[in-house]
Amino acid sequence: MKKLWSQISIGVICILLGFMITYQFKMISKQSIVTDGNKNSPEILIENEQLNKNIEELKKKIEELDTKTKEYENVARGRDEQSELLYKALEETRILTGGTEVEGEGLIIYITPKSNIFGSSSESQLINDSDLVRIVNELNAADAEAISINDIRLTTRSGIRNAGNAIMINDEKVSYNKRITIKAIGRKDILESAISFPEAIPSTLALNCDVSIEKSNKITIPKYNKTYKFEYAKPIEKK
């Protein structure tokens, strides 16, 4: 009797153990499937491709519209002196707001992250948003007329800040582990002297990256690709 009892108890407990083990196996394999699915879902890749195509098409459209407005402007400006003056004022504000591509003499700064021997360079952040802000500030103080970072035009409303694993400038991502090119149009000698002033380039940045400066007679800086919106700021009319 006692023997039978113990046999049954062992059987029941083994049932329990087997059930728990298989259940846990099932759960864990389910979990790993879920995480794998998130990593390389083909749907996201397809969507990404489609969106990239969309971008190309929209860019083409922008170009077409740009040439059209240029034509209209050219026609309008030839009419009389007044329209000529208006056109000039328009061009000036456009340069100011970054609405046109500009070229001229200036300075190019290359910031190349030093490759780490221990191979952890992709993990740590070598270029900080504050470093870029400082350099841009320095360039602005030295009367730079147009500045771009990795061909992203900086305007009066551009922000430079860390977001996730990149630096966001005008809603565009700039990787902080790859080479960053800062272009500035202005008097190149003044720009150079401003940048070569001690601490103009932060010492931490100089430690982590190779910073080289190049003077150039012809730099082109692309235009700001988005439209300005003023929702809250309204001009005050003077009587």
């Binding site: 062992i10 407990i13 049932i15 087997g18 059930f19 083990i21 259940y23 846990q24």
Partner: protein, 113 residues
């Protein structure tokens, strides 16, 4: 023999029966499995050395599992991984028991031949 049949039934039950235990209990079950495995090894050793007692086995099975789960819960609340203590102790004991089982079995086969 009964143990193997029981295990088989349990495994089939686990595959077929789709009971829903919340995912957050997953670590608890893991540690409980470890505790149960420990008592099963203990029982195996007991049955081979002929001093197996069902009451000790059953109380050990459930008691170990409950204690391990309690440890995981406490560690979760206190922020220290106490469950490591359970894992280490049970792991060590499983190896100990296995060593003794091995010795007993080898001795048995030697005495037979």
């Amino acid at each position: 023999m009964v143990a193997f049949v029981g295990l088989l039934i349990g495994i089939i039950l686990g595959i077929v029966w789709n009971v829903d235990i919340p995912v957050k209990f997953s670590p608890y079950i893991s540690v409980a499995i470890f505790a149960c495995l420990d008592s099963v090894f203990g029982a195996l050793r007991g049955s081979i050395s002929h001093n197996f007692r069902a009451d000790i086995f059953i109380s050990g099975f459930f008691g170990n599992a409950a204690l391990a789960v309690a440890m995981v819960y406490l560690g979760d609340k206190l922020g220290i991984p106490i469950y490591l203590a359970a894992v280490i102790v049970f792991g060590g004991r499983i190896f100990d028991n296995f060593a003794i089982i091995r010795r007993l079995l080898i001795d048995k086969t030697k005495s037979h031949s």
